[in-house]
Amino acid sequence: MKLRDMIEISVGNLWRMKLRASLTISGVVIAIAAFVSMLSFAAGMEENVSERFDRLGLLSTMQVYQQRSTETDTTTLNPLDDGAIEALLKIPGVTLAYPYDVFDVTVEIADTQFSSKAQALSGEAARTRLFSQFLAGKSFTSDMANQAVVTESFMEDLGIDEPDSLIGKKLIVSIGVSSLDSALAHLIESDGETFRERFSRIDVDSLIDSREYLKRTYQKELSEATRRFLEGYFGARDKIADTLQITGVIERTRGRSRSAPILVPVQTGKLFSSSGFSGNPLELLSTIQSGTFFESAPDPSSKSYSRVTIEIEPTVPFGPVKDSVTALGFRSFSYAEEFEEIRNVFVYFNMVIGLIGFLALITVSLGIVNTMVMAIMERRREIGVLKSLGADESEIKLLFLTESGVIGVIGATAGIVFGWLITRVASFIAKDVMVSKEIDPIELFSLPIWLILAAFALGLIVSLAAGYYPASRAARVDPVQALRSE
């Protein structure tokens, strides 16, 4: 018997039992639609995340930090200085290494003045994807240019909505404070954190219990206070101001790759950073401890950074690079690693959804079994006739399997379409909500081809599996009994 004939007969039979068949098929449709829409959401999320990570260049960068100081042994800490950057650059696969070279500044734009942070960035670093997500304008033209790029958070600090309006604006950046009063102010409040808050963090119980902790805490607070005071005071003698032109506004940088709100070319940045003290307390502390504090401005080459970002060639695996960084005595963090974990979460999520969908389909398959068994009981005589006409057992079996297969194909196809419609409606609503909350609307769903194929295969396989037992039963119907005239 030809497959075409079988399909024709099967469709005819299902058509004849429209109500029953459509109820059974709608079960498949619902299960497949649920499966498709849920996995479509997961696929959409995964795409969004990976697309974002990738667009921001996060998948090819690694952040390098100084080893965390253990309480007992602080002497062997490898400083994250220019020498370290040289060493990092020698690691195979590393194309770029640049520090998070940041300093406190006072900025003046239009009539507003406020304190902020600026970060010096080499031209190479500025060209990486991390700093290329322009909302407006472009990057600075050279390492020496009196230009600056600001971030979205700078815009917010300023209370500006339109990034374009900032382009070409003059930005006066100054370092140092103008009076002793300001030095004191700096001592009492910095980084938006007051003295009181700092002290509230100290663990009182430990203070009572441990003299060691007490000593350490006082030492830390005292040196911090001294640093702040001195910084303010010395800064007062040394006020440096420069007028920069804003050339671009970039998207907010986040998390461990966060940059300062103001980015300046590396030479322009040197003007500020070499004249004052860096914001790194470790450095100041070491200056005080080594007695070099009252000497001339610190040698910039000995300056150490809180973090160095390295760019890795996309084709180079992260593992060996990470190992080399560790071997140099540094800690590292990469979004690529994080992303692997996120990806694992998605795999897990997909499996759970797949399982739920599968269980739903199992339930549906019981419906198919029921429909087919009933069909066979009703069509015993027909099976007898077919056998008397020369149908083989295998043909009868195939005939009924085709019938459940047709249920699967129709159900899966309609289920995929229906599931897709659900995602369209959900996406429409979600985008509406996002717009109303002034979030850039993103597409939450994705329907990759593998998902369509998987849903189709699943619907078909489950239907065929469900149809197998009834079909075998149909094949074994005794024609003599079936044809007996009652």
Binding site: L389, D392, V480, L483, R484, S485
Partner: protein, 232 residues
């Protein structure tokens, strides 16, 4: 010629609890090519069982059936299906037409399993129905046909495969006198055209007037084998 369709010590037993029912019991029968064999006997005497065995629809408990020097018992399941498809035509008392299919579709159904193309199927089914005088009933469903017409559709379905032998199990049992006569006439005509027919009936008159030979069954055994009133 003598060994065309032949049974030897053919038995078909049923077990009903402790009781053994010998539906067909040690039957030695030879059906000759071209004959119109009537099988009569009271209800439950094993006529249908014998017919189903010969048609390859049932399997004997013991004994054998030979057709064209081939023992049916030695055939694979698929070969036995093929025997039913090519060599055998069957007609039943209750017609056994598919009620949801038209007359034409019912007849076409017989050609599905031989892999005949759709166009040829249609053509052969039409001509088969035409031969039986049903050309204006092609698109009627069984429920729109009279009993006699339904049985003619069933005969058309059996004949469209061009079988070598036609097994008819009480084909007139559900029909009134006139229709029964018509069907009997039809079978006799087909027999004259060369078709071998095995007709099971409990209508002795009918068997007597049309069959070339009559066997009588009782309790699964052939108790009488005559050459009938007309003789050959």
């Amino acid at each position: 010629m003598n060994s065309w369709l032949k049974t030897s010590r053919l038995c078909r037993y049923y077990r009903r609890g402790p009781q053994e029912i010998r539906a067909v019991d040690n039957v030695d029968l030879t059906v000759r090519r071209g004959e119109f064999l009537g099988v009569v006997g009271s209800s439950g005497s094993g006529k249908s069982t014998l017919l189903n065995l010969l048609a390859g629809l049932d399997t004997p408990t013991s004994g054998s059936i030979d057709f064209n020097n081939v023992t049916l018992g030695s055939l694979s399941r698929r070969e036995l299906s093929s025997y039913r498809m090519r060599s055998v035509g069957m007609v039943f008392q209750s017609f056994n037409l598919l009620h949801y299919k038209t007359a034409l579709e019912n007849v076409e159904l017989a050609l599905y399993f031989s892999g005949t193309s759709k166009a040829v199927r249609r053509e052969r089914a039409e001509s088969s129905l035409e031969t039986l005088g049903l050309s204006d009933r092609l698109d009627h469903r069984p429920s729109d046909l009279s009993g006699g017409e339904q049985q003619r559709v069933a005969i058309a379905r059996a004949l469209v495969k061009e079988p070598e032998i036609l097994f008819a199990d009480e084909p007139t049992g559900n029909l009134d006198h006139d229709n029964a006569l018509q069907i009997a006439e039809l079978l006799a005509k087909l027999n004259r055209e060369g078709l071998t027919i095995l007709l099971v009936t409990h209508n002795l008159d009918l068997a007597g007037s049309y069959c070339s030979r009559i066997i009588t069954m009782n309790y699964g055994k052939i108790i009488d084998d005559s050459s009938g009133t007309r003789g050959v």
